[in-house]
Amino acid sequence: MKYAVAVKQVPDTSEVRVDENGSLVRAGVPSILDPYCEYALRKIEGIRKEGDEIVAFTMGPPQASEALRRCLCLGADRAYLISDPAFAGADVWATSRALAAFIQRYACDSDLIVFGARSSDGETGQVPFETAQLLSVQQFVYVADLSPEKDSFVCRQIYGDSERTCRVPRGSAVSFGGVDPCGTLMSISDRISGGKKTIETLGRVELGLGLYSVGLKGSKTRIVRTDSSVIRRKNRKAVINNPGRAAELILDEMGAGR
């Protein structure tokens, strides 16, 4: 089996602060492999069999290669950095278009296209959907478990309070719904072997994309204004021993807030 895993480098959101103007202060904030993407990669690493191949790819600036290096240390066999100044300012649509172009040209024989649920900086969760749409492949979201079968996969999806188990045809896109709170600590052997693997960089021309298909020019989103909202909370403590009455009080409070 061949797995193409899309990943993203993000600022470590636990370190991000907001300044007095409501802007994110990213100076000095370390960049990390997105925990959602890392979780998805680890899930695939967990089901891989001998002879399987994992290809990690990301779109980002040159320093995003550090996230790919981590993927190589965590089990990916090859890595591609999709990087070009023309990609700057891409919204989810332009990002999905570049990722879809990469898959069509460099990973079209993948048995599965894998994503994390969303990125921890943008939090849109739209890239898996739009990439699948552009590739005209089936998509399976909120995947908790996945197991390969002879010619397909079986996945278990968790939709809040309901679960669904279904067959996933080869070539589909899946996005895993979780994140590992304990994270991953790579072994020293994996670090040594991952450090020896190469990362290939691809630009706009290699992906066959026009200037108006990528980056800010290829984006459909236009940000008109950004405001920071200040949430003021009034805390009140009530001690109620009856759960029913407590629920009523919460509903009343919610009603009053509307």
Binding site: C182, L185, M186, I188, S189
Partner: protein, 534 residues
């Protein structure tokens, strides 16, 4: 005016991380040095004692009051500015600024609002190619810089960088009578064993104790007394008994990108012999070298079994029976990994299951792993307090010279095994300073463990080490001062205390016990306080 609040039933000002409890009437909360001086002026005139406290992260009861009031510096917080002298960059901070806050400001290079102590220092530091940091790492980053200086705190990175003392450039100290002294290293030294300095209108002149502080091992037992000593070293490590630190300058060092490593071994003996190889290795050259024995790893396993999210690390590899935690420089990674493979092979460790982390989040998780051991034991002891109020944590804090390290380790095991006590060992093996934590289950065991602990202390002193390598003396370990310096040495320190704090109001009970209960006729008149004018 200063703020004074009744303590009442609020116990948080009456204890610290030792879980020892004390008693006091009020908590005093100065916001400025002016208010701090006002408090000391009033309290000195009344002869009412104050116990200085900040973040109360100490483990020897130094900030636990034994009467009088608590002088909490918690409102005197914040970084004041950046400066540079011939040694390098330094940072000026209020006493209750936490190490975490200092680290965060330096990591982000966020110097907005900070003063240039020397011209253009903030801008110059911002433009340095490398990030700077305060390298003393006492494990507890929530502790205050003033508390760290008062106890001469140290920790894992003492292995490379030495204790707090080595990084203090200058302090401002408010004396018991409210006068203040501004003390910069190198500006005031003793003449032989005679020290003299001015503070406000007063001139203090006295004989220093006759003993020499043992600086050859990690040692937090009192100030560094020696001939021709620097005045600043009298206050560093003096646990607040001579004066209250109201401001401090600490030196900074360039931060090298590091890779943290946890190397798992089949048993403790393999890990300890690998530690010797790593320590003497010219290539690996770690900044710290920490040990976690098999029982510590079992403690972590049981903690994670109860609550998998209690420590944010993956499950420990099952065959692991012991571990070493250290770091290597990123720039030398290839050579270091090669050397590591050789050492691991020689001592039965496997690089396939051992961890490395080169991203800050990974490094922090490994640090959390190591820190979880004492934290779990602290919480366990605290949980026993309801049933056994007099119980407190009993963990060793002894460091010995290299030549005596094996003998001391054997002594620990022999004594504890023969007493049938459960224990775990972890900590600063690079400085021959493991913590041996006795896991107590009853008051009977507590009594037994206390007696054994005394034997550990005596043995470490006999081997040329220190029974208080990094935790300080506080109120729990005062007997070790006499063990190290003799009755005469402690009495000489008390004489200094009576010169600098004649009414004995500052931190009574710390380090030298109750100094003012000693008969004043014992004094030889070696020291005196002279008023300058007014």
């Amino acid at each position: 005016m200063f703020t004074r609040e009744k303590i009442g039933r609020s116990e948080e000002y009456l204890t610290d991380e030792s879980k020892m409890t004390g008693h006091a009437s009020n908590v005093l909360l100065p916001m400025t040095e002016q208010e701090l001086r006002e408090i000391l002026r009033v309290y000195n005139s009344k002869g009412t004692p104050v116990t200085v406290a900040a973040m109360r992260t100490g483990v020897c009861g130094g900030s636990v009051p034994q009467g009088g009031d608590v002088l909490s510096l918690e409102r005197m917080t914040g970084v004041i500015g950046i400066g540079k002298d011939e040694r390098g960059y330094f940072l000026r901070a209020m006493p209750c600024t936490t190490l975490k806050d200092i680290d965060s400001i330096l990591a982000r290079r966020d110097f907005s609002g900070l003063a240039d102590i020397t011209e253009g220092a903030c801008e110059a530091l911002r433009n340095e190619p490398e990030t700077y940091f305060y390298p003393v790492d006492p494990t507890e980053m929530g502790g205050s810089i003033g508390g760290n200086i008062a106890t001469n705190a140290s920790g894992p990175r003492t292995y490379r960088y030495g204790p707090t003392r080595d990084w203090v450039r200058r302090i401002r100290v408010v004396m018991a009578d409210s006068a203040f002294a501004d003390i910069t290293r190198g500006e005031c030294r003793a003449e032989g064993r005679r020290m003299g300095f001015a503070a406000g209108r007063n001139y203090y002149s006295f004989d220093l104790p006759g003993y020499d502080f043992n600086g050859s091992v990690k040692n937090a037992a009192g100030p560094r007394i020696s001939e021709n000593m620097d005045l600043i070293d009298l206050f560093i490590g003096s646990e607040g008994i001579f004066g209250v630190i109201s401001e401090a300058d600490i030196y900074l060092a360039p931060r090298h990108p590091l890779i943290s490593v946890v190397l798992f071994f089949p048993d403790d003996a393999s890990a300890l012999s690998a530690a010797k190889d790593i320590r003497s290795d010219g290539i690996l050259d770690p900044e710290f070298l920490e040990f976690m024995d098999g029982k510590s790893l079992d403690l972590i396993r049981s903690l994670k079994k109860r609550d998998p999210l209690s420590i944010r690390v993956p499950a420990l590899p099952e065959p692991a029976g012991s571990a070493l935690f250290f770091d290597i420089r990123k720039s030398d990674a290839d050579a270091s990994f090669g050397r590591l493979a050789e050492i691991a092979g020689k001592h039965g460790a496997s690089l396939d299951v051992s961890w490395c982390g080169h991203e800050p989040a990974d490094i922090e998780r490994m640090r959390e792993l190591r820190h979880s051991i004492p934290k779990t034991i602290f919480e366990y002891v605290a949980s026993l307090k309801g049933e056994m109020p007099k119980i407190h944590k009993l963990g060793s804090d002894m460091a010995v010279p290299d030549a005596a390290a094996d003998e001391m380790m054997s002594f620990y095991r022999e004594k504890l095994d023969s007493a049938g006590l459960e224990y775990c060992m972890f900590g600063h093996i690079g400085n021959n300073h493991p913590h041996v934590e006795i896991i107590l289950k009853s008051m009977e065991e507590f009594g037994k463990a206390k007696a054994i602990y005394e034997e550990f202390a005596a043995k470490s002193a006999e081997l040329g080490g220190s029974p208080s390598a990094e935790h300080g003396i506080g109120k729990i370990k005062t007997q070790y001062m006499e063990l190290l310096y003799g009755r005469k040495g402690v009495e000489e320190l008390r004489k200094v205390k009576r010169i600098l704090d004649p009414n004995g109001i500052l931190c009574p009970g710390n380090m030298i016990g109750r100094s003012h209960e000693i008969c004043r006729s014992c004094e030889t008149g070696a020291g005196h306080l002279r008023s300058q004018g007014g």
